[in-house]
């Protein structure tokens, strides 16, 4: 019935004796926008980091388009078609805004060419420009990444993630630390992106994701608490109990 782009089968993670994540089996539908939510310390970030290849799980397997990627090193993910944005902004601060995206594009094409001029690589500058246009940063193309505002830096990160033309885009708390306007703009951007590719995002703020996600995964104490459409999650008794009394930010 379904076309799963990503599956985790019995995935768990231990840090020393501490169990961060226990036996998560879940599937992500191609083309959907899925949100991973849960209170602080639920294991969202650990789960995200394993999905994006930052570290391997202690137990279980991860499949991308049916292919086992459990032990695949991080640097292969971009070429497989999985891109991520970091929770804490992570750019090349002393490079120009356009160059940031150009380098990300270049990683897809040429990594070890020591002789050709990098500016001669066909179309990379144009493609980088188009991606900046898409996230609304074209006017800022000549600025150093370090001099951009927080919201602009997050947008630049998304442009860099898009550079590998990913079939799966992973976003870790994309609106963390943003002002209300910036949050709204970035939610709009995410909805637009989700129209053309699969997006999984981790979010702490439940209200934000309720409106835009097709499907939600709720984690709690390192376990999968519930799974379903936002409407189903909204009326789920267990989820209510977990979030009861917990103030929303």
């Amino acid at each position: 019935m379904s076309d799963l782009i990503l599956e985790t089968i019995g995935v768990g993670k231990k840090f020393g004796r501490f169990v961060a994540l226990r036996d998560i089996t879940a599937g992500f539908q191609r083309g959907q926008l899925t949100g991973i939510i849960g209170p602080n310390g639920a294991g969202k970030s650990t789960y995200f980091n394993m999905l994006s290849g930052a570290f391997p799980p202690t137990t279980g397997r991860i499949l991308f388009e049916g292919r086992d990627i459990t032990a695949t090193p991080q640097h292969r993910f971009a070429r497989l078609g999985i891109a991520k944005s970091f929770q804490i902004t992570s750019l090349f601060p002393q490079l120009g805004t356009l160059e940031n995206v150009r380098v990300a594009l270049q990683a897809m094409h040429s990594r070890y060419d020591v002789w050709r001029a990098r500016t001669r690589l066909h179309g990379l500058v144009e493609q980088a420009g188009a991606l900046l246009e898409k996230v609304g940063l074209w006017p800022r193309r000549d600025r150093l990444a370090a001099t951009l505002s927080h919201g602009e830096q997050r947008a630049l990160e998304i442009a860099m993630a898009l550079a590998c033309d990913p079939r799966l885009l992973l976003l870790d708390e994309p609106t963390a630390g943003m002002s209300p306007e910036e949050t709204r703009a970035s939610m709009d951007l995410i909805v637009r992106l989700a129209a053309e590719r699969t997006v999984i995002l981790v979010e702490h703020k439940m209200k934000l994701v309720m409106g835009i996600c097709d499907r939600l995964l709720v984690l709690h104490h390192g376990e999968l608490l519930a799974e379903g459409t936002p409407a189903e999650i909204r009326v789920n008794e267990t989820v209510k109990r977990v979030y009861l009394g917990q103030r929303e930010h």
Binding site: F77, F86, F92, L95, R111, Y112, R118
Partner: protein, 321 residues
Amino acid sequence: MGATTLRGTSRHDWMALAVRHRVLLSAVFLLVFPMLMPFKAIAVNILIYGLFAVGFNMLYGYLGLLSFGHAALFGGGAYACGIVMTRFGLPWWLGVIAAIGAGALIAAVMGGLAVRTRGIYFAMVTLALAQCVFYLAYQAGGVTGGENGLRGIVLEHIGPLDFLDPVTRYYVVAAFVVAALFALSRILASPFGAAMEALRENEARARACGFDVRTTRWLAFVLSGAFCGLAGAMQALHLGIVPIEMLSYQTSGTVVMMALLGGMGTFFGPFVGAGLFLLLENIVSLYTVHWQLLVGGVFIACVLFFPRGVWGTLLHALNRA
């Protein structure tokens, strides 16, 4: 360097122009350099050690990898050149090619092990591996001449040029140095150069973009080895002998000091550093045999007060003005 600046002042335009034509500039400078030097005899030494420091700078300056084992690449190149010429009786230019290859090959093996470690381990592991190369050369006396060094490397003529004439010799070595700087300039401007920048700027992001951190570091190590191997060949041709001390820990340390004195991660810094170091050594040793005391002291002061080095400090001041 290479970053687009905010204000298009004329000074920045000049700087950009200088950066674009840096190979040409260095060629012109090296052409007139012997006429400016008070101690003409050390002009060739400055060229050779400058090139060695350029190779070292490739790793530390551009990738932040501090190697204390570069003597193995420099000395390895010198031995390769000398062995090809004395043991096999082949022409000098084959010796130079062999030296570049040997530098790259030793770097490939050392780098293959060293890039498995990170941070502070890198310096320790490269130092230890270079000691290993030293002892191997020491033991293989039949080929390398052991502790007496490899003697009898003779190069009198290169075509019509008289290599024994100091001025001619200087310009021959300078030609190789300019060629190497051209290659370096190409590498820095290449896609691989961009990968190195990305890695230095943000390792985690570079990895997420799809750059393989280990392979990038390894390749930079190999390229660094090729430059140092070439410098080693020049040294072998210049001295006519390869002393075993070229492989020693002190040689590795010397290049670290030169690069830091000049300015890490700058294009001309390694040459400035090599020049300052050798001038200091030559002037101080006129008065005392204990020049290392002063050199060590100057280096300590440099680490404490001028971590950008002489050239780096100058560039920084110019960029801010």
